[in-house]
Symmetry: C2
Subunit: 103 residues, 2 copies
């Protein structure tokens, strides 16, 4: 069983966040998660035609950059954006980037 590693707030880096968001699918996932405040499973948040392994990889990149929190809910993994942490580390950054991301 995989365990999930999340960086603590102070270990979130600007470079890591920018690299994680430098991908249209990952931007789309973050937008999807923010629209679903309760958290979403991987499959719910996913752009529809993506292989499960590709999707898992995107979630891993986002998680390791400190952008999302993954928790186990039964057999599914629920993901949510770590808005408070990101906004505390880099005020205004996430909002500005998402404003320019295409839907």
């Amino acid at each position: 069983m995989a365990t999930f590693v999340h960086p603590s707030r102070q270990d979130i880096t600007l470079e890591g966040v920018l690299a994680a968001l430098a991908d249209p699918n990952r931007l789309r996932i973050i937008k999807g998660l923010l629209n679903e405040k309760g958290g979403m499973s991987c499959t719910e948040a996913a752009p529809c035609d993506m292989a499960k392994s590709t999707l898992s990889n995107h979630f891993r990149v986002l998680r390791e950059a400190g952008l999302i929190q993954t928790t186990k809910k039964g057999v599914e993994h629920q993901n949510s954006v770590r808005e408070a942490d990101i906004n505390a580390r880099f005020p205004g950054l996430l909002k500005t980037i998402l404003k320019h991301a295409q839907d």
Copy 2:
């Protein structure tokens, strides 16, 4: 003799800009160029202990992302940040990212 390819304003992508800036050395180069409005040669803008090939690669990544303009001045290449283009494409983005970049 190398010729430099610069994307036109409308071809500058958010993902490309984020990927190019997802590196502390490239962030430092952009900050250095912005402090020297007249444009800087590669060596002037460079973090001091970097191999020339590494440095050239960083400038290439920044140029291909549309972040800098490179022009030949005699035997040197002068680089400047395409502030007007970036700000027109993604208002507020560069400023917000640079605000959070460490010196």
